[in-house]
């Protein structure tokens, strides 16, 4: 037994969403809301910079990242080499800039695969329930029992070290994680009466999942995508550091750190610090973006 909503719900009436018109304007409003958040802007700017670096790396870099110069090894940062050189005389700044490319290809692709698979899985599990859901949940749990790094490790071990394997492995490991969140959202949507109304029209399961439920869980799916993207970058970098990610001679940041950190004890800190900072800035940027998106979408 419920009644007309009492006053504390007045805030609901005051949502501008209720008063604005049309689809295009809603997107514009969303955009404006996002831009109003300073942190989101910071994240977006940083990410944009790295995307530019990934695409135009070779043009932007001051020197050839692969050019060895054995007379200029292990030089500290200076005017000629802003980030110093490594033990083969290669310019660190150029390597850092170009090192963004692979990680920015691998991580988003992997996340995309994981999101699509995970969303489909989550929709099916959440809507169909029953034995299907029970059995698949056990598999999902099994995947979740291991940290991503460990699963990535053993999967790369099983299928070989290549970028494609990396993408597919991370994508497949993400799918259950995303499926779990989507499943939860679907289960709560399923209780709402518009689903019962659809069943009373004789709609098939596929129609209900794709046309009725999916539009309503897009917001959590989008947020999951951005959150996982950050984690994908994290994971690729970590796996590269462990030797199971991007393979040499790529100037990938994680790989660079793995190769060079023995040099740290000799005092050549620049061969490791700038790559570390690059990784840190990228993941922080992506997470600021996902936080901002979450705040706006879940309103």
């Amino acid at each position: 037994m419920s009644i007309a909503v009492p006053d504390p719900q007045i805030a609901a009436h005051l949502e501008p969403g209720a008063l604005s018109a049309g689809r295009r304007q809603r997107w514009r409003e969303l955009g404006r809301e996002l831009l109003r958040q300073k942190l989101f802007l910071v994240g977006a700017v940083i990410l944009l910079w790295w995307i530019v670096a990934a695409i135009f790396g070779y043009q932007i870099a001051p020197q050839n990242p692969y050019a060895q110069n054995l007379t200029a090894i292990n030089l500290a940062p200076s005017g000629a080499h802003l980030f110093g050189t490594d033990n083969l005389g290669r310019d660190m700044l150029s390597r850092v800039i170009v090192g963004s490319r692979e990680i920015l290809i691998i991580a988003p692709l992997a996340t995309l695969i994981g999101t699509v698979l995970g969303a489909a899985l989550g929709l099916a599990m959440g809507y169909l329930r029953g034995l299907f859901d029970d059995v698949l949940s056990r598999f999902v749990e099994a995947f979740l029992a291991l940290p991503l790094v460990v699963t990535g490790l053993i999967a790369i071990f099983a299928f070989g070290r290549s970028n494609t394997t990396l993408i597919i492995v991370i994508g497949i490991v993400f799918a259950p994680l995303i499926a779990r969140t989507v499943r939860a959202a679907v289960i709560s949507e399923r209780e709402l009466e518009y689903i019962a109304a659809a069943r009373l029209r004789g709609e098939r399961a596929l129609y209900v999942m794709a046309v009725e439920i999916l539009p309503n869980v897009l917001a959590p799916i989008t947020v999951e995508f951005t959150v996982r993207l950050g984690y994908a970058i994290f994971a690729v970098a970590t796996l590269s550091f462990l030797g199971f990610g991007v393979q040499p001679p790529s100037p990938d940041w994680g790989l660079e750190i793995a190769t060079n950190y023995g040099q740290v004890t000799a005092g050549y800190w620049w061969e490791v610090l700038f790559d570390a900072l690059a990784i840190a800035s990228l993941v922080v940027a992506v997470n600021l973006i996902s936080d901002g998106l979450e705040a706006v979408l879940e309103r």
Partner: protein
């Protein structure tokens, strides 16, 4: 409630079993011929065949799996290739060392994270909240090896405050061990702090805006009392389950941190096994990790059901 627990246990065992199958497939089936992988592409076919027989790889798959799992359950994970020694003791001591490190990280991060989240929630929107939230967020997403390296550079090499190798000398006392372990523990703390603080913050905010908090305030209780007595119990309940799931991230972090600091825990054991193609060690190690995670979640579930009266006491409506 006992029934609930037993059911969860049964489910966990099923999951563990599925995991063992997956691990077996990944360890011995998919990589192709393990014997050739060990001996290299140039080895003579007879040598490969001999090794295959020795390792029992010429038997049918199901048979191999059965032998492996039945031995495992009895406590015999087999022999390691790289060390040519029983895996059991190596694994156990590695696990023990990892537990020390992990526990240290936990003991630091859990109170810190909860305190941070609660303080942020009590001051929503104000500067301290933003600082804690952004700080937590930034620290969480930085990979452990990145923060680890920065720490090594700054604290270890730059300031010479702490030793950069994590292994204390044999027979070291409690505080010395602590000094050695603290630097590898810190990257783990960084990563976990964000998650825990975020959960605690969200839970506290929700509890603060609930009807029962309103009732408590309107009864005339002082704010401190309201928070301590009414809000915290409800906000911390969901945080407990989250803490358990953090074990997963913790272990992942252990793999990296142990490799970086060259600490012989289970994480670096697994990483090395993968690098050196030590199949039995890899499989046993990964399965152990999975089991540890499940034990942690089970304990968390148990704790949760004990603490939440809605689960502990039957909810039958009574007139």
């Amino acid at each position: 409630m006992v029934a609930f627990f037993l059911k969860r246990l049964a489910l966990a065992l099923v999951t563990l079993w599925i995991l063992s199958v997956l691990v077996f497939l990944a360890g011995q089936v998919f990589p192709g011929d393990p014997a050739r992988a060990i001996l290299g592409p140039l080895a003579a076919p007879q040598a490969v065949a001999a090794l295959q027989r020795q390792l029992g790889l010429d038997r049918p798959l199901l048979d191999q799996y059965w032998r492996w799992i039945s031995h495992l359950v009895q406590g015999n994970p087999g022999l390691s290739y790289q060390y040519q020694a029983p895996i059991g003791p190596i694994l156990t001591s590695a696990l023990y060392r990892s537990l020390k490190l992990g526990l240290l990280a936990f003991v630091i991060v859990v109170p810190l994270g909860i305190a941070g989240g609660v303080v942020a929630a009590l001051n929503v929107g104000r500067p301290i909240d933003r600082v804690i939230s952004v700080l937590g967020l930034s620290m969480t997403v930085v990979p452990e090896f990145v923060s680890g390296i920065i720490l090594i550079l700054v604290l270890g090499i730059g300031l010479h405050l702490l030793p950069i190798s994590a292994s204390p000398p044999a027979g070291a006392g409690f505080f010395t061990t602590l000094k050695y372990l603290i630097m590898p523990a810190i990257p783990l703390v960084f990563v976990l702090f964000g998650y825990i603080a975020r959960m605690a913050r969200a839970g506290t905010i929700e509890a603060l805006s609930s009807d029962y908090t309103r009732t408590a305030v309107l009864k005339g209780l002082a704010r401190g009392l309201v928070v301590r007595r009414h809000v915290l119990r409800n906000s911390l309940l969901p945080t407990i389950t989250v803490i358990a799931t953090q074990t997963g991230y913790l272990i992942g972090g252990l793999v990296v941190v142990e490799t970086l600091f060259r600490y012989p825990g289970i994480g670096s054991l697994v990483a090395n096994a993968a690098t050196n193609k030590d199949f039995p060690m890899l499989e046993a190690g990964v399965l152990t990790i999975g089991a540890v995670y499940m034990v942690a979640t089970l304990l968390a579930d148990l704790l949760f059901s004990v603490l939440d009266p809605r689960i502990r006491v039957a909810g039958a409506e009574q007139g």
